[in-house]
Amino acid sequence: MAGHCNFMYPFYHLPFSHVSERIAHLPPLFGMAGYEVEESEVFFAWEDFEAPEVGLPEVGVEVVGGWRDRVATFGPGVVLHAQRGENSVGECEVVWIGSEEWRPALKDWCFCTSLDLDEGLQGKGLGKHMLARGLRAARDRGLRHAMISTDWNNHRAYLFYTNFGYGFLDRTFSFRKELKEARQAGAV
């Protein structure tokens, strides 16, 4: 496995990023050596974003949450949950990606690290509501630019983000090769 985001340097590129297509002499190196593309994450950016007002659709949920000092392994950011009774049926995280010391150029940027809804709630406008609300909360904290990413083959998310206001930024690849004979542990 090569170039996979799980094993990347923390200061390289963005969360979930594999090898950028802009480092263009690397993918053909792996290709020549018999590696296959394993995963592909695509990044979108929206400079000076303007998150629209999107009403909460009538799907029997309420959306709660706000700014937190820490979001998962990232820095500060917005965490929103869609609640149905006691259950969380969706979440949206928009982190201040520029808070990390190795990203000084991104100090005004936020990154949506998670936008997940239970399957039955997709396609009803709830995701739009939550993302718009998450972005507005980030904007209230002074963040001006936004990024987001998805798998290259997640056409629904791709269509959503590109029509919401984000534009294409970068495509990244990870590579995989099955080695013929893995040596036994301890073998010389």
Binding site: A24, P28, G31, M32, H155, R156, Y158, L159, F164, F168
Partner: protein, 297 residues
């Protein structure tokens, strides 16, 4: 919103939309309104029964689609089976309903033409002024790519990588390991002057590198460019760095002729070529994609 056949009075709205859409695409130049003067003016010799339709929203151009049916053409890599072809399909980000309606219209057209397959953004059918000669849909027009993905189109496996090299500075050529003579030949090409550099051994052609001066635009800054439209080397001479010699010498010839920037493209699957170009000095600029869908009855 309504979908209507293109009329000349829509040329301004269509041109404005086209220029907006290609704005983020590297080395793709805006066009003047006369490019969209009529369907006849845009017609391709590689297609029949072309149609250009416009999506009007409150009387304004909100999108357009241009389709035709592929003709078999000699000496050109053509899609098999003479499919219906989408030459261009554009809508503004945020108006996905417009895009969807246009794509549905294009598929209905394909059925009316009795085509079981529809190709989109194949370089076979591209507008001659769009992107590079092998350009398909640029990844920068991401909302259009998303539309085709959602509608069940598969990516064609010959997606093109497009590289450029600003202020290119080719290295000194190394002495070839076999005896040969390099012969440049200048003529008129599709973009501007064209130079074919041949590696000759007596009467035998060992390899060739083709350079076109200019990009797919008459604008002055496009004339500072050269585009390598193809190169080949005899199979039995592969690995003797003859390709390197040809490309380096062709670049030097173009630089001598006044070109400042260079561009080249290759299939994503052609790792050898991509490795060669990126290590010579070209940099990644864009990736383009074609799409194909088999239509149900």
């Amino acid at each position: 919103m309504e979908i209507v056949p293109f009329r000349p009075d829509m040329a301004e709205g269509v041109t404005r939309l086209y220029n907006e859409l290609i704005e983020p695409v590297p080395d793709c130049h805006p066009v003047p309104v006369d490019r969209f003067a009529s369907v006849e003016a845009l017609a391709s010799t590689r297609l029949r029964d072309e149609r250009l339709v416009v999506a009007l929203h409150d009387g304004e151009v909100a999108g357009f689609a241009h389709v035709g049916v592929a003709l078999p053409v000699e000496h050109y890599p053509v899609p098999t089976g003479e499919p219906a072809a989408v030459r261009f399909l554009g809508y503004r980000p945020g108006q996905r309903a417009v895009g969807r309606r246009l794509l549905e219209w294009a598929e209905e057209y394909a059925r009316q033409q009795d085509r079981g397959t529809i190709e989109a953004w194949h370089y076979f059918a591209r507008y001659p002024f769009y992107h590079c000669p092998w350009g398909q849909l640029s990844e920068r027009m991401a909302h259009i790519r998303a539309l085709f993905g959602m509608a069940g189109y598969a990516e064609a496996d010959d997606g093109q990588l497009y590289f450029n090299w600003h202020d290119f500075d080719p290295p000194k050529p190394q002495k070839p390991v076999i005896e040969l003579e390099l012969k440049p030949e200048w003529k008129e090409g599709p973009l501007g002057p064209r130079m074919d550099l041949r590696a000759m051994q007596g009467e035998t052609e060992l390899g060739m590198c083709r350079m076109d001066r200019g990009q797919t635009s008459p604008s002055p800054e496009a004339q500072d460019w050269c585009y390598c439209d193809g190169m080949w080397v005899q199979d039995e001479l592969q690995g003797k760095r003859l390709g390197m010699l040809l490309l380096v010498c062709a670049l030097r010839e173009m630089k001598k002729a006044g070109c400042r920037h260079a561009a080249i493209s290759t299939s994503w699957k052609n790792y050898r070529a991509a490795l060669f170009y990126t290590n010579l000095g070209y940099r990644f600029a864009d990736q383009t994609y074609g799409f194909r869908k088999e239509l149900a009855e």
